[in-house]
Symmetry: C2
Subunit: 409 residues, 2 copies
């Protein structure tokens, strides 16, 4: 059961001028489910992406990097679920290439103008023939208003489609930012998540795109974790179709640049949080904020230690204020010279720990009250510097075990 | 249900000359359970310990370090369950000191000659008065043959007591090594585990003890993980009572030193593996071996990434050969220049992955056969150097969630 998350309303998802989407059922792994998404971009779109840091990166991730580096102008994205095409060696790369070539033929493009994405089971052979056979239906369905279908078409163990949209005014023109993402498990993105796509019709210097996509990932997908497992296929792509008609954005620090950046961040953050809200077996949405670190990096170490601890996560699932587990996680996070005698811990507004020990006024009933909520903020103050960091996560429930014990059956 | 583990037979646990043990029910947290252990050492025993690297180390760990550093000659160990006395600030240290002083009075010792150990819930106030009230019964019960009772007396969520014993001949004399440990959850020892005690009557230069206890920890407790949560209270203590009557061991590299070392390692390893076999909710015992690394450190990174992955652990629970999850864990382990195209993966005798892709001869039925076993060896070969490392772990089951969601209730 997702935590305070509903399927997006179709009307809330604004089309992005210059982007058309087609979805089909290709039977990649199972019949009768939307598992193939084609996204076609008008000529002139700027595209940038960030990809998994997993050294066992999937074949499509390798091809995405190669095709972006070729700088032929990306014109299409091809996404399949049901098979991750990871752990498949050289054969997997060859198969991903065949699917790009097939879509390129349909659209009159070069195969290097197609970015491929796969998600699903690892170490299975990609059924190229099924994907190729599904392409005509996807291409025939191409239309600008298919964002909701595309969000459905990239789901695996997700229980709800994830999509978000914002509009801002830049240079007197309405600029749209719309995106989709999928997640659910093997989620501890490192650079990006298991498939996120955000498109805007903003007019922006393509040289700024890589910075913008990195910053957006860093504010969103790189701040979430469900199980600490960094996927082999994480990919986050930002598209700017340059169609909105305003004067080009040439600096992200300008007023227009800042407006676009905020809209891209907001959409990315909403998508990232939606992934956590729909995390496998999640019953609670947890914000972990660590203040008072010397560096952002050490704040992240502590925040991720809390967010990954199975003991902390099962305590949240049980609504049990067994909060010493949070202190233990901070203690083993890897901050070598940490002084436990300085640490404060808050659960929402409840001050639980002061100077490393239980706060004299802390009552278990207060902790219990917060732990029963479906949205909880854990705040730790290290009191050793000015840096802070935030991570979003969920609890660890029986359903997580069930889902991952049954995933392939 | 522990994995291929039974309670040790009383007769299998040889007494160690110079060590007497008394166990009592002090009602620290719950009534009618053995929760207080006193271990008294004859004068002249050499004692060394290694303790948690968790920066939120418990009050008793702080006192152990202080009392060992004082070099007054350790004569007694005082162990309670039901309360970890961690996350308790300066008050926790004062309370641990009061318990040491009380036992010292009973035995005519200085409080610095007592080492305190606590295990149980974090961030609760230590009930000193109950522990002090329980001491007379424990002291009255002191006897050399109470190793099994002491193993029972340090259990928390353990389902079985853990104890092991070996005898070796050194200089024509029988030398005994006997030890106890407890574990179950919050287990990813870093220097030592959540309470392990090994005693021998060997005659050994006290200057060698710290090296020996470190090496033993490194071969045993530091190679196991259940949930990746490094405890606040991990403590592993080695005692040599110097009573066996052989010529003193002055070098660990001598024949006598090697014989003692092997016996201490064997007892430590058996105790460490017993902790994994009785891991919270464990249904399988998994050995993860990584070969072919450039350094032992990178082999450990990969082995721990596999051993900590919730996705890998739930796949073991389900007996599902979803082995791509193992590749993904190796990929995110943090070996920056890893070449996935070199990697081999074996499940027991089954060659699953060759050069980063599925082995052509691999059949899912073969993977399935191994996954159904209760003891499984995962072997990864990185093919980039001569180093190797082994870690022992267990699977992640529904019972792990249940146990940790219910632990305090």
């Amino acid at each position: 059961m997702p935590v305070n998350l509903a399927a997006p309303a179709r009307a809330s998802l604004a089309a992005v001028s210059g982007v058309r989407i087609g979805v089909a059922m290709a039977g990649v792994r199972k019949a009768n489910r939307k598992d193939l998404v084609v996204m076609v971009l008008d000529e002139g779109a700027a595209v940038a992406g960030v990809f998994t840091q997993n050294r066992f990166c999937a074949a499509p991730v390798q091809l995405c990097r190669e095709h972006l580096a070729a700088q032929r102008g990306i014109r299409a994205l091809l996404i399949n679920t049901g098979n991750a095409n990871a752990g498949t060696g050289a054969d997997g790369v060859a198969r991903a290439r065949q699917t790009c070539a097939a879509l390129a033929r349909h659209l009159g493009l070069d195969e290097q103008q197609v970015l491929p994405f796969s998600t699903g089971v690892i170490m299975e052979t990609l059924p190229v023939e099924r994907i190729v056979a599904g392409l005509p239906a996807a291409v025939a369905a191409l239309a600008p208003d298919r964002w909701l279908e595309s969000a459905e078409g990239i789901m695996t163990t997700d229980t709800l489609p994830k999509a978000a949209s914002r509009q801002v005014t830049i240079g007197g023109r309405t600029v749209t930012v719309t995106g989709i993402a999928k997640g659910a498990g093997m989620i501890r993105p490192n650079m990006a998540t298991m498939l996120g796509f955000v498109a805007t019709d903003a007019v922006i210097d393509p040289a700024l795109m890589q910075t913008l996509v990195r910053e957006a990932a860093d504010q969103s997908f790189n701040r979430i974790t469900i199980d600490g497992d960094t996927s082999t296929n994480d990919s986050f792509v930002l598209i700017a179709t340059q169609r909105a008609g305003h004067a080009p954005i040439t600096q992200l620090e300008s007023a227009d640049g800042a407006a676009l950046r905020e809209a891209v961040f907001a959409v990315s953050r909403q998508l990232a949080q939606a992934i956590v809200r729909d995390g496998e077996g999640a019953t609670k949405f947890i914000t972990v904020r660590v203040d008072g670190g010397r560096t952002k990096q050490e704040c992240r170490l502590a925040a991720y230690a809390i967010a990954h601890s199975p003991l902390v996560k099962t305590a949240f699932f049980a609504s049990d204020p067994n909060l010493g587990r949070i202190l233990a996680a901070v203690g083993y996070a890897g901050i070598d010279d940490l002084d436990q005698g300085l640490i404060d811990l808050f659960l929402d507004d409840v001050h639980v720990v002061v100077r490393g020990g239980r706060h004299p006024a802390y009552q278990e009933a207060d902790g219990q009250r917060v732990m029963k909520q479906s949205e909880i903020t854990v705040r730790v103050d290290l009191h050793r510097g000015p840096a802070h960091a935030t991570v979003w996560t969920c609890d660890l429930s029986h359903d997580y075990v069930s889902i991952n014990a049954d995933y392939r059956s």
